[in-house]
Symmetry: C4
Subunit: 211 residues, 4 copies
Amino acid sequence: MTDDVTHCASDGSHPSDCDILEGYRSRAREKKRPPAEEERVLLAKAGPIRLLLLDVDGVLTDGRLYYSEEGVESKTFNTKDGLGIRLVQRAEVMTGIITARQSRLVARRAEELEMDVIRQGARNKLEEFKSILGETGFKPYQVCYMGDDLIDLSLLTRVGLAACPADAVEGVKEVCHFISSHPGGGGAVRETCDLIVQAKGLYEKLVQQFL
Amino acid sequence: MTDDVTHCASDGSHPSDCDILEGYRSRAREKKRPPAEEERVLLAKAGPIRLLLLDVDGVLTDGRLYYSEEGVESKTFNTKDGLGIRLVQRAEVMTGIITARQSRLVARRAEELEMDVIRQGARNKLEEFKSILGETGFKPYQVCYMGDDLIDLSLLTRVGLAACPADAVEGVKEVCHFISSHPGGGGAVRETCDLIVQAKGLYEKLVQQFL
Amino acid sequence: MTDDVTHCASDGSHPSDCDILEGYRSRAREKKRPPAEEERVLLAKAGPIRLLLLDVDGVLTDGRLYYSEEGVESKTFNTKDGLGIRLVQRAEVMTGIITARQSRLVARRAEELEMDVIRQGARNKLEEFKSILGETGFKPYQVCYMGDDLIDLSLLTRVGLAACPADAVEGVKEVCHFISSHPGGGGAVRETCDLIVQAKGLYEKLVQQFL
Amino acid sequence: MTDDVTHCASDGSHPSDCDILEGYRSRAREKKRPPAEEERVLLAKAGPIRLLLLDVDGVLTDGRLYYSEEGVESKTFNTKDGLGIRLVQRAEVMTGIITARQSRLVARRAEELEMDVIRQGARNKLEEFKSILGETGFKPYQVCYMGDDLIDLSLLTRVGLAACPADAVEGVKEVCHFISSHPGGGGAVRETCDLIVQAKGLYEKLVQQFL
């Protein structure tokens, strides 16, 4: 039975699974064509990234703050972003969060995803950023930061790759190198992770591991 | 009074209910015209399906992971998907879930819908798939799998009908036979269930039971 | 100070509030022009409605079923729908729900809105409908029912005004007299309430009460 | 290391951060061109605002009322709106809420944002408004109110700047000076805050504080 599955033998009653696998690989190969000028610049910035820092509300979440009558606060994270963080980690990129708010649920999510840097209650994100650079030894051009609001401007204007979700405020979009086509909490982080992995030329290799 | 309702007698003050019922049936009849080539191929793949396997996050849900400050996790399922699963079950199709994550709430939803196969914490979905084929005796061409992310590629490239929600990642859309017009948690599963039931020529019969 | 507010006296430093009020009333008057043929038919059906019956999941909610790891289920209702139900009640229309599922939270919402009919766990909606007609003495043409899925077809094909949300399944849209421009849980019920109140010629009068 | 960050020194391996900062400031300067006639009128109304009053459901939230089976009610607020309220506060504008419903979670959010006026359970919003004017000494033209439904008409037709979210009901949109491009709970409040700050000529100064 398992032969059907792993050896791509056609049983005659339906198209060979190998055809599908080959089609997928061939479409992946076609993507190797030189990217447009704009994409080339973006990939040049994304290639050297060694540390991905993320804002939480509006980036890893959709910005919604759930308040219950009993005093319990909740947030929603996205499963696709979670896999994206796993992908950049496989590409030897450190990951972390910097957020002005403070909550145990954020720590729990960050630990679940085995993130390296967790800075909550960061009133002054720039100070935290300098401290992180000092501890890790990375230079700004090796850091990608994704934020969605004015409080993120100090970091976005200093990192090598400034990214924001599709629904970031205007003032943030203006300074970002990469504006995701997805909103915060809806795949913006994942798209940024994919970009970094692609810039490092590792995307196809990682995809193959899932086939 | 009940005669008004069940015997389609017009009381003179408003159009006969029977007119409406007949209009509905006639519109349903019109749909019997031969489908386009692409739809024909799709229906040919969907017809033999005997087992519908579903990913959870991003397929049966919208991919949101709700984390509360008190440590409680939640997900949202969709009532329309629930009725879809009931429909395929009436069409003698077994149903099940395969998910990498683990939670009691998923087990509860699956049991509520009387699903046959529940595999959680599936780090290697392909191994689970082979085990399910072994237990049920189905061949890959009799299985429909719906997934939304790279981790689902190993199954999507091996089943008879590979389906994904409208908001699946690009790499997944490329290998799927059927891309739902609805997103995960927003009717993608239901549309796939409807497709299978239609391919088996049972949709109209099932709809009549609700009239 | 209160004179500024209630007597429409201009204080010279900004446009008179009375101008705004008059503009609003004049725009409302303009809407008295004869509606298009299609709208006329719809209003003719909506005018005699004395009882508004609603499905819950996918109509009063967006169809999402929230499951928590601790076994607690939740749903979301919409504040605009709540005011809509208050509006039809002021227009002497009875309101109620018929749902196949069973939950205390639905009863709580229905009681909060002082609805007259609460039928949960309704496996056979048609039986419940007949029982409601028997108890209230209304005829089918005096009832509006809003539903979103196949299980609602038996009622939708028998009431005087069949309504559904924008995101109802195709089979339901085909039999409905009124398809809301809003999805379930997103204002579909409110739009139906507004339609009924307008058909009774009471909308403007009710709006005036809020000015 | 911190010199890289704060003194805009280029390390030669990537474009100078100062270039980015200067680009941002120059784009901000370009926006000083005279606004269109309509925008000028709007800014003239927004300039004198000293008090921003907000409805809760459908304005500070998306109108969803979360009901759990255990009897707990929840709402969702938006992190971008939160920063908007901080911005108007820095521009010396008082802030407050007036809502017909009553809940501890709303009080908690309002206190967290250090709002000045909290009026819940306001059956008659006009009475509350008069009372607030009496206590604060502001005149109606100095007040901006944002609401989304008929119950808000009495205030919207009396304040100097009447604002509503993109998804307000039609009757409300008709009387508002400013209709946000964002829905309730999705940035409508933030856009109104930005408008007021811009009208006071303080937006750029506030943005600079974040750089």
